[in-house]
């Protein structure tokens, strides 16, 4: 790792430590006696058993993809705050195909559902892209609008179609078992002994897809001429213009690819089985915003994002156990929020660490 990479990595670690520290202080302030065991749970629960490890990977899947979505746009100089809406659109389309496409064999249906979700996310993200390229509308503002439009639209679509609506639970209907993502050999690995038998994590092929997509994103950004163009537009739009690169086209493509990643995230999230569905509540899915922290914590690098996604999922899983100690799981979300806040000036922490290292090198 070169010096700059090292600095970036250290600044991420510093940001995580600050976030955790503030989380610990909140725990101490609310209930000092339970604070330490609760904090330990956040730090260790994710690896206490093979099943937990499987669950960490399961929940990391969608946020790795939304993280990639945010990072991809950011590399082109765009801030995709609309991942939530694209995630919902992707999930919705995947659910519809999973339920209505039962005539297709699963080996066809599942890929079709994922690809359709990617397309849906791409189209939905293309709108802010178009508005940015041709009407100079800031993508953050238009994405806020498209997020809510998507949410209301999808909630309505589910509610008004009996075939995809589970009235009792007030969510989208369960998918047929055959539409759930294959779990391969994972259940035999990621399982805990329970009585005479085993209980397995629902981790599935999704995590592999997410990692493959991360590698693909890396290849697109680093190895192709298209990635070269996109990054040139992001780093220096004036130089891109000087080089004769078509910026409008790149803005739209970048948003669409970013949206397709969020769309895939939605598909993989809702095709994991176990009763998860789109709720009839008017709240944006949190995965889109978590993606922002995953992206920045992963330094907007596709491979870094695999790790930051797993890390955040790991903390969330531990956070889910906090009720044992009388705390609620939202604590972890506040820790993540603190991490995002410090990511806002990660460049400053970077330069601080850089100065610190320099001093050390000079032996002061």
């Amino acid at each position: 790792m070169n010096r700059d990479g090292l600095l970036s990595f250290l600044s991420s670690v510093l940001v995580i430590i600050i976030g955790l520290l503030i989380g610990f202080i909140v725990l101490l302030a609310t209930n000092a006696q339970q604070a330490w065991p609760a904090f330990q749970t956040i730090l260790t629960f994710g690896m206490r058993s093979m099943r937990n490890i499987g669950d960490v990977l399961l929940h990391a899947t969608p946020i790795i993809l939304t993280g990639l979505s945010v990072a991809f746009a950011f590399k082109t100089g765009l801030f995709n705050i609309g991942a939530s809406g694209q995630f919902m659109f992707g999930g919705f389309v995947a659910i519809v195909i999973s339920i209505h496409g039962v005539s297709m064999p699963p080996a066809v249906r599942i890929p079709v559902a994922i690809i359709a979700a990617a397309l849906a996310g791409a189209l939905w993200a293309g709108l802010p892209g178009l508005l940015k390229a041709y009407r100079n509308v800031h993508e953050v503002i238009s994405s806020i609008m498209t997020n809510y439009i998507a949410m209301f639209f999808i909630v309505y679509m589910i509610q008004s179609n009996e075939s995809i609506f589970n009235r009792g639970l007030s969510t989208s209907a369960h998918l047929p078992e055959s539409s759930n993502l294959p779990r391969l050999f994972f259940p035999d690995i990621f399982r805990d002994a329970l009585g005479a038998g085993f209980v397995s994590s629902r981790v599935n092929i999704g995590i592999i897809i997410a990692i493959v997509v991360a590698v693909l994103v890396y290849i697109i950004l680093e190895k192709t001429t298209f990635g070269y163009e996109l990054k040139a537009c992001g780093f220096n739009p004036d130089a891109a213009m000087y080089a004769g690169i078509n910026q409008k086209r790149n803005i739209i493509f970048s948003m669409m690819i970013s949206g397709s990643l969020a769309g895939i995230a939605g598909a993989l999230n809702f095709m994991r089985g176990g009763g998860v569905g789109i709720g009839i509540i008017e709240v944006l899915p949190v995965e889109g915003f978590t993606g922002i922290s995953v992206a920045f914590l992963g330094l907007n690098h596709p491979i870094g994002i695999i790790f930051s996604g797993i890390f955040i999922s790991y903390m969330q899983l531990g956070g889910g156990r906090l009720s044992t100690y009388g705390f609620s799981s939202e604590l972890v979300e506040t820790v993540i929020a603190v991490i995002i806040y410090f990511c806002a000036f990660v460049f400053i922490t970077k330069s601080l660490i850089g100065r610190f290292i320099k001093k050390k090198e000079r032996g002061i």
């Binding site: 220096n236 000087y242 004769g244």
Partner: protein, 509 residues
Amino acid sequence: MHVIEMRNITKEFPGIIANDDITLQLKRNEIHALLGENGAGKSTLMSVLFGLYKQEKGKIFKDEKEVIISGPGDANRLGIGMVHQHFKLVHNFTVLENIVLGVETTKNGILQMKEAREKVLALSKRYGFDIDIDKEIRHISVGMQQRVEILKMLYRDNEILIFDEPTAVLTPQEIDALMKTMKEMAAEGKSILFITHKLDEIKQVADRCSVLRKGKMIGTVDVTGTSKEELSEMMVGRKVFLTLDKEEAKIGDTILKVRDLVLKSKEGKDKLKNISFDVKAGEILCIAGIEGNGQTDLVYALTGLSSFDSGTVNMDSTDITRAKIRKRTELGIAHIPEDRHKHGLVLDYTLAQNTILQTYYTKDFQSGRFLKKKSILNYARKLIDRFDIRSGEGAETPSRSMSGGNQQKVILAREIDRDPKLLIAVQPTRGLDVGAIEYIHKQLLAQRDSGKAVLLVSLELEEVMNVSDRILVMYEGEIVADVDPKQVTFQELGLYMSGAKRDEVSVYE
């Protein structure tokens, strides 16, 4: 008795001494011109006086008493006002609001505009400004906006008025009016400092003139006793030719043909006025002139970075008047841009990535949509060797970490190595050290000798005289001279550049 004295001011920026031990004395009631080439340090000196920069050494005295000016607020309190080159006006505030901003009168917290209005109207009337003070800034002309800036100073009862190149944005009529206003203000007790490159204006209004060159004070003279030629010489100095081995130019066919380019600003001021010229193979044609006389607009028009109102541009026999940038590049136009950090390089890319900025999609560097990393690195290494580019980590050095001279070499290498027919080089040596300058000049000559057409845009007179085979001088968006460097003197060029002299220039056969 000096109303302002700046004594032994030194102001440094990283790598450059912008003001080197400068002493400037301003008398009451005088109009004092500050003359100098680009980068001579005039604006820096005035920014120190206005509190925008803090000097490293030296003191400032007002009415013989030492003062410390650490911000525009301090300057305002001392009665120092400044009209900046780029106006500091809020576009959707009215004229009146802009004038009172910062010195508002209030009663119980509520703005009281009545007195202000009366005072502004009275001032406006006294100087014949004919200005509608309830109009928003965005709805009035640039000339009017400048009057607002003047009114801002008058409203504050400032007695020391600084004008930073006030005529650059004005029409001739507006310039006349401004000169008249300046004289009136001086007559009423104000003292004026006036940054300019234009000798005519100095002759017209200034009482005394201080000349700066390369950060140093050359001297202060009475304008009436000094000729334009003498002023020009003080400004440009007695320059010597660097020894540059130069063969006789072998002029070939016309490569670039520009006819009647016209560009008007939103306010209707001419930015480019019927520009016509040819650039031929085997020659270095130099566009000389003071910064801001339309050179940038001209280059943008030729390279496609921005459009223009009318006229035609032909490359060989192809009409490229409305061609896209990539088309122009493919037709053989190379461009060393004025601002290498803005246009020339993607600083977050490596050296190698920057060498393929316009060619990344060609078969040399792309196969099946993938970048050919090996070929790119090899290509970059070839350029590093050939052009002696120094970098810490070779082809994979982050461009941001390279020195300015080596960054410029990367651009030069990239542009030359594309084997263009026409090389447009805009201030290619700006900010570089002597060694790098010499190197770049040699490369430009080598291009010319290999039969390329070279269009050099330069503000540096030595460069203009040493390198070029033919010189066009631009002044106020027009070509005012077409001269042979062997038959023209520095002083003459200075006169052309500062608008004191002009020829009728025609290219029509």
